[in-house]
Symmetry: C2
Subunit: 382 residues, 2 copies
């Protein structure tokens, strides 16, 4: 196992619990994208045009989260901050709301539970929302967890199940002596495997309600504010995560412009944030892929090497299903059909970057190239 982020640790936990001998190589466990992640479990709000197979996987994994959280807390003794108040989707201006409604209509068309709310209903749920907010909807099944609690919990559970953490960095797959090697190294997977995983920079802020109080809102809030898309994730201890930029950059500097845009949008949506302490500004690198979907399964030329990377914005929500399916594959040698659309071979077949293949149109469906889309609305939400 290469990589001790949530994905690697969860696979290690599952494999060790099945009696396999597991060594997890990572000089800095939990220091990758998960250290910056907000921990939204948002298959509904993140069901985007042209990503129906990914949406299916997100929904299937989110459905496993409640049991996964219970089991992990039982195994580790660590509470994960798993919260089920749901997610409010809001638009600040009429233009923002029009853009949001276009996506909500698509999501409703997939049969997903996005419930439009009248402004009075919105304010009944979250009185702290700015009076300017023009409208919104509720995604009641989109929950949240705290990634900074998740990683230590997984580490404890994996170690209690018998997994060993090795601090040596893996520079090459030949450094690893194992029957099966799982590469769950996030952005580091590119150098190890040649897979098209690229860093996608995200900057986020952590605020804290003044005086040790809980935040003045309970739902995760995802909003469009004058064209900016931001989210606000409240934690019981007073923390609020405000994010995130999506930048095609590989540095982790925090820039004045990004902080300005995040704060402006956040304060426009929820004015009381202006009085919150700004306690952290940080940037991380998501492992992105050409079709925004993860890469799960054996490398075409190395069946003993399994990729579990490329989770992009979805690493936390996809942790349970990735762990289950990869552990199944390691122990049985048989790939679950759920894995088929996410096979590492899909990029080799379609060229280095199938989304840019000549002659293809951009727009809904364009990112699904390279694998047939068999998902139906029933599949998505059953």
């Amino acid at each position: 196992m290469v990589g001790a982020g949530p994905i690697g640790l969860a696979i290690a936990w599952r494999c060790a619990a099945r009696g396999l001998r597991v060594v997890v190589h990572d000089p800095a466990p939990g220091s990758g994208a998960s250290a910056v992640a907000a921990g939204m479990l948002s298959p509904v709000a993140e069901a985007y045009f042209g990503e129906r197979q990914l949406t299916g996987l997100l929904l299937a994994s989110a459905a496993r989260w409640p049991a996964f959280a219970d089991e992990l807390t039982e195994a580790s003794g660590v509470e994960l901050g798993y919260r089920t108040e749901g997610t409010l989707l809001v638009g600040l201006t009429a233009d923002d709301l029009a853009e949001a409604r276009r996506l909500w209509a698509y999501q409703q068309g997939l049969g997903l539970p996005v419930t439009p709310l009248r402004p009075t209903e919105l304010r009944d749920r979250e009185p702290a929302l700015a009076p300017r907010v023009r409208g919104g909807a509720l995604a009641s099944t989109d929950h949240q967890v705290d990634p900074r609690l998740l990683v230590p919990a997984l580490r404890t559970a994996a170690q209690r199940a018998g997994a060993v953490l090795a601090p040596q960095a893996v520079r090459s797959l030949s450094d690893v002596d194992a029957r099966v090697t799982v590469v769950a190294a996030g952005c580091g997977a590119a150098a190890l495997t040649g897979l098209p995983v690229r860093p996608v920079k995200g900057q986020i802020l952590r605020l804290r309600a003044p005086g040790g109080a809980a935040p003045g809102f309970r739902h995760v809030i995802r909003g469009y504010a004058d064209g900016e898309q931001v989210y606000l994730v409240p934690r019981a201890d007073g923390e609020v995560v405000l994010g995130a930029t999506v930048e095609e950059r590989s540095d982790t500097t925090v820039t004045a412009g990004a902080v300005l845009r995040l704060l402006r949008a956040g304060v426009d949506l929820l004015p009381e944030l202006a009085e919150y302490d700004l306690v952290e500004t940080v940037a991380g690198l998501r492992p992105g892929t050409p079709d925004n979907a993860p890469i799960l399964g054996p490398l075409p030329a190395r069946p003993d090497v399994l990729a579990a990377t490329g989770h992009h914005r979805h690493g936390i929500v996809l942790t349970p299903i990735t762990a289950d399916l990869i552990a199944d594959l390691v122990t049985t040698g048989v790939a679950d059909p759920l894995l088929t659309p996410f096979h590492p071979g899909r990029f080799a077949a379609a060229g280095p970057d199938p989304t840019n293949a000549a002659g293809r149109l951009a727009g809904p469906g364009a990112a699904d190239v390279g694998a047939p889309d068999r998902t139906t609305e029933e599949d998505l939400w059953s």
Copy 2:
């Protein structure tokens, strides 16, 4: 000596250089307001209505800065980042410019060198200014120094001259065994002396030009931007200090609202700042006084205790003159007439807070109560 900020260290240096035995008590030298200060030497831009005596002192101290900087660098071996490009005063909108011009007219009325610039002249000097900036002026004699270089330089110079730094905190004046005790403890002076020194919170940001470059501007820029007053101080190493809030609070938390307001104003004035790294967000406490002027001289009831505190926004610019005049007073026992308006007794005579005294009108001149204002225009700029 109580307090090893710039004021305390400079007095210690001057006193030790005259052969006095000096012990400076401070558990954390340089950790007060100076660690957050921008280091503007701005007697002209900070010549505000109703503060003519203070303006006179600021001008007199700024005039000593070039020689002081040379002497200190000679004594310490430390370059101070003393820069003489001058300060540009700008207004973003027509309203901002109208407000700025009212102050510039007052400053010109005092005979101070504030030179209005045409927009083309403004952009010739700083092409990075936003095209929106409506107008400006040059205060060519308002310079800058880096307070984070100043403190170590003063510490070295004071120690080389024979001053001893003692890390014990002073809780009461009875803890100090000396012929003369100088209280240069910033906000801490209130508890030690009963003087009306109160904390005035300031939040500032430190940005850094990307890629190790120098900032894309050379002048200190002080601007009004949609009603916010901010300053931008460029350093040779790429740092830009962006400040500052002025808040009647005694905490040092950094708030989302303050960072938002500073960044918005800064980026509106100088758009390239959006691409700068945000490397530090920090708050400090200035030692404020009822009339915004420092408190310099013997306590009425304790002629052996000299106050050198209450420097508010002006601690860096006032360092040379404070050091010279207090060292004179310690060695000769005679107070320079320059100190008269700043005597600690002025508050006792006028009550606890003369600016709030019943029957007085607010506005220009109101803050000068308690001492006659004999400053003339000629005095100010001779």
